[in-house]
């Protein structure tokens, strides 16, 4: 008991130390940014405080964005569009990727037939095919969702396949000798066994999907932070662009933190 509480205390200390180190890293980055802002003219770079001020000021309403006829007239409205698309794209792609990857890992012939195609698709730079998606699906909100979903599916299918292959066969053998049917084995053994490894893939997919979504929006979308950046860059509004970049970073960090908190709760056994 005493040993367990000592371990717990040690864990909380190392967690606090980890948070402090991360904060220190962010501080160094902001310091460097501020230094560069002092050295460069405001038309090239503004400091973090100016960017935050712009973000607060234009969160609900930006006359420039309103001028271009967007229904969401502030950064907040644009952000809602982007966040929704990323979440839907990653959720759909994640589900398809995990189910597909686990299924492929369990059927040798199908895997042999599809794995080269998956690996090949994985090597194609997704940003390069983005104009094709705009041509195929038009300037619609679901165009970027499809792109994010496709990217997530390919990535997570590979993670899921590897995770299912890495799961010790003894776990499933035990379930079989307990009389568990396929459905029970998948739900009670396979899914909990592979999820921690898949979580790593999900974080990578999420991190990349923000950039993917925003870039897709700059090519053509009815709304979104990417469109906001496009409009602001046409008027050389460096302060506004940096404000949106900050907003994207903050949202990405928040979503990742929520994912990690959920993972800590779900994977307490690790």
């Amino acid at each position: 008991m005493q040993a367990a509480s000592t371990v717990r205390a040690g864990n909380s200390h190392s967690r606090v130390r980890g948070i402090l180190l991360r904060l220190a890293g962010v501080g160094v980055l902001l310091g460097f940014w501020q230094l560069m802002a002092v050295l460069l003219p405001p038309s090239r770079l503004v400091g973090p405080w100016n960017a935050v001020s712009d973000l607060v000021h234009h969160y609900n309403n930006d006359p420039l964005i309103s001028f271009f006829g967007f229904s969401a007239a502030g950064y907040g409205g644009l952000m809602y569009f982007t966040v929704r698309n990323v979440i839907v794209g990653v959720a759909v792609g994640g589900l398809c990727g995990v189910v597909g990857g686990v299924a492929l890992a369990r059927t040798e012939r199908t895997r042999a037939a599809t794995e080269p195609a998956l690996v090949t698709l994985g090597t194609v730079p997704i940003l390069a095919v983005m104009p094709l998606f705009v041509i195929w699906f038009g300037v619609a909100s679901y165009t970027s969702v499809i792109l994010v979903a496709l990217y997530t599916t390919i990535l997570l299918a590979q993670y899921a396949m590897r995770a299912a292959e890495n799961l010790p066969p003894i776990y499933e053998a035990r379930a079989k000798t307990c009389g568990a049917r396929m459905g029970t084995r998948v739900i009670r053994v396979l899914v909990p066994g592979v999820m921690p490894e898949i979580l790593g893939g999900l974080r990578v997919a999420l991190a990349f999907s923000w950039g993917l979504e925003v870039f897709a929006e700059t090519l053509g979308a009815p709304s979104g932070l990417g469109q906001g950046i496009q409009i602001l860059s046409n008027t050389d509004n460096v302060q506004g662009i940096l404000a949106i970049v900050l907003l994207i970073a903050a949202v990405a960090l928040l979503v990742d933190a929520l994912l990690m908190a959920a993972a800590r709760l779900l994977f307490r056994w690790r």
């Binding site: 003894i170 053998a173 079989k176 000798t177 307990c178 909990p192 056994w269």
Partner: protein, 301 residues
């Protein structure tokens, strides 16, 4: 059989409550109901052969034309050197490997594939790390659809018997190797299989923990009267546990004899002339010089 008398090995620390139960000969509800039942759980192998195909195309015969019957309630130890077919023999009975020829029967049923009637304690760690100890022990019962109150009752009883009640809510990563082995043993017994198959379950444990778990195993067998096939490298383990020992070599049963030593098998019994003679014979099958028995038994491989 059902009136428990523990063997000389178990009396250590956290097993004290368990030892008290055992020495008092108390049997709890779930165990009594298991023990009262006397199904025909004979295991019969009729001319069973298993042939594997290597990746280079070579055929390897793991066991060949094996005829074997294990009577209900027997504790049969299977010994032999590595790669001689012990685990294959066990896997065939478990249904994890299909025989290339011949058939396997449990009772009157010919078996194909795995089933809850044959529980396996695996050589490796098969305790699910994502389930708490109690959930691990109750996993088989849950699969069977046993309702929660009944499941919890059975789980509690088996956890008490293996001395793990205090860690019922713990995660497996918080347990030692020996404790996890006890979880594995409790899990299989709690699932109430007709036949229990153990594949060198204690081989990776230190000497003291192994002796303690042998005691737990023996006690549960005495209480439940299960038919057990126990694969081991260790001659001393076989002498301590078995009602009968077979030696497997080259895919064949080389020797098959009952062990009529008295129980509990304490130092005195294991030093008797009959035990010495059995040990000598078993060691000679394993290719060891007669007289090297005690040293081999203590070092375990």
């Amino acid at each position: 059989m059902k009136t428990a008398r523990i063997s000389s090995q178990k009396s250590e620390d956290s097993d004290s409550s368990q030892a008290a139960n055992i020495s008092a000969g108390r049997t709890t509800g779930a165990l009594q109901s298991l023990g009262d039942r006397a199904p025909n759980a004979d295991v019969r192998l009729d001319a069973v052969s298993v042939t594997f195909m290597r990746s280079n195309g070579d055929r390897v015969t793991a066991i060949e034309n094996v005829d074997l019957t294990v009577k209900t309630g027997e504790l049969l130890c299977v010994i032999g050197r590595s790669g001689e077919g012990k685990t294959t023999l066990l896997n065939v009975v478990a249904g994890l490997v299909e025989p290339s020829e011949g058939r396997v029967l449990v009772g009157e049923r010919e078996i194909h594939g795995t089933g809850a009637d044959r529980g396996v304690i695996f050589q490796g760690d098969a305790v699910y790390p994502w389930m708490r100890v109690a959930d691990n022990v109750g996993f088989g019962l849950r699969v069977k659809g046993v309702r929660r109150p009944e499941r919890e009752r059975v789980v509690d009883e088996y956890l008490e018997l293996v001395g793990l009640s205090h860690v019922a809510k713990s995660w497996p990563r918080e347990l030692s190797g020996g404790m996890r082995s006890r979880v594995a043993v409790a899990s299989v017994f709690a699932n109430d299989p007709e036949v229990l198959l153990a594949d060198e379950p204690f081989g990776a444990l230190d000497y003291v923990t192994r002796r303690r778990l042998q005691g737990v195993m023996l006690d549960l067998w005495q209480r439940t009267g299960k038919t057990i096939l126990f694969v081991t490298h260790d001659v001393e383990e076989a002498l301590l546990l078995a009602t009968r020992i077979i030696v497997v070599g080259g895919g064949h049963v080389l020797d098959d004899r009952p062990v009529n030593l008295a129980r509990p098998r304490d130092e005195e019994v294991l030093a008797s002339s009959e035990a010495v003679e059995t040990r000598r014979r078993l060691l000679s099958y394993l290719g060891l010089e007669p007289g090297a028995g005690s040293a081999v038994g203590q070092t375990n491989e």
